[in-house]
Symmetry: C2
């Protein structure tokens, strides 16, 4: 990078700043009119432009969705790193923390949740670069699971994602902005922890062969 005259650099920065402004406006409109209700006219009005001018910054409406998708995942990555640093080390409490991180992030902005985790916009597929950020999020969660000693088992991971997303799903769909399912997060995390560790113990015993105190 860093080619050409300095003025080109300034222009590029200005260009990026305007793009960011447009994305911010898109979030605002989406929160007001619904994610699928996003219209370029509203976005343009919000930033004080005409609709065609937007096309100097994004080639299509889906490219705006894609920028929102990327930004949302960046926010999540930041959010996870921040809060994972303050988690307790005891496995059960740490898993609770992980559930709480995901629940808090998703419920604090349902529109963002819809874009990042539900596939409801027809024709929108995240670009490769944006999708990579979503994979990075998964990696962060999986690494933390490993630090608890819960990793490598696809079924266990699927169980954990199902339980955590179920809480979010109900909260967002049936009580958006409320806290009806928030109080269940710890209990569900504990259920998940008990289930997965019990399974691990069974598996461990099986490798040792039948022992006294095994299953009746």
């Amino acid at each position: 990078m860093a080619i050409g005259k300095p003025s080109q650099d300034r222009r590029a920065r200005r260009h990026e700043a305007t793009k960011a402004e447009i994305v911010d406006a898109a979030w605002k409109v989406a929160r007001e009119k619904g994610l699928a209700g996003l219209s370029l006219s509203d976005v343009a009005a919000q930033v004080g432009m005409r609709v065609p001018s937007l096309y100097s910054y994004f080639a299509s409406k889906n490219e705006i969705y894609d920028a929102m998708f990327a930004q949302g995942n960046d926010e999540l990555i930041e959010f996870i790193k921040d809060r994972q640093a303050n988690l307790p080390n005891k496995p059960r409490e740490r898993l609770r923390g992980g559930f709480r991180i995901y629940f808090d992030f998703c419920t604090q902005d349902p529109v963002r949740y819809q874009l990042l985790f539900q596939r409801t916009i027809p024709g929108f597929e995240p670009s490769e670069a944006s999708y990579a950020k979503a994979i990075e999020v998964l990696r962060l969660f999986r690494d933390d699971l490993a630090s608890i000693g819960l990793a490598g088992d696809q079924q266990d991971e699927d169980l954990l994602t199902a339980l955590s997303s179920g809480l979010v799903d109900q909260q967002v769909a049936n009580d958006p902005g409320g806290d009806r399912w928030a109080g269940l997060v710890d209990a569900v995390a504990d259920m998940a922890y008990d289930h997965v560790t019990k399974k691990q113990r069974r598996r461990h015993q099986a490798t040792l062969g039948p022992q006294k105190g095994g299953q009746a």
Copy 2:
């Protein structure tokens, strides 16, 4: 009802038949283009009409969504009644069956699931009559919970809906048409059962006061 000449009755039936045909066409289009991608032009083409002719049967696109919403709930009510009749009576197995009923229905048609349980179409609110059908579905599930002895506790019900919808959510979003989460249904139902019954036992003990063998 039953006013006027018999020919009016025939016409009314024809009218209803055409409405049903339009709704069927709408489902077909929605499954191809996505729920939010439903367009009246596609629907009209599907039934061999011009777009404005649809307005003889439905006052707006949202009324078509509403008819689909009502029909989807009717299907679910039928589905539940059919399968609840064949459920075992033992509580644990019966709860498993309830989870399975919901999971099977939702995953066998993701578009229907999106319309019935996720609020993603901007501006669409089910009519009072259609919403009543959704309430009827809830009532059927709740009545069956009562037959197992798990009823009346809002938190328990919220937990059950969260766990069951989490499985569906992950299955539909990440492996549509597949079975990656299907194998976890029984295990999750058992976790839910254990959690809720354990809670009930604790509550029961509390009303009796401290006893020998109580919590350490």
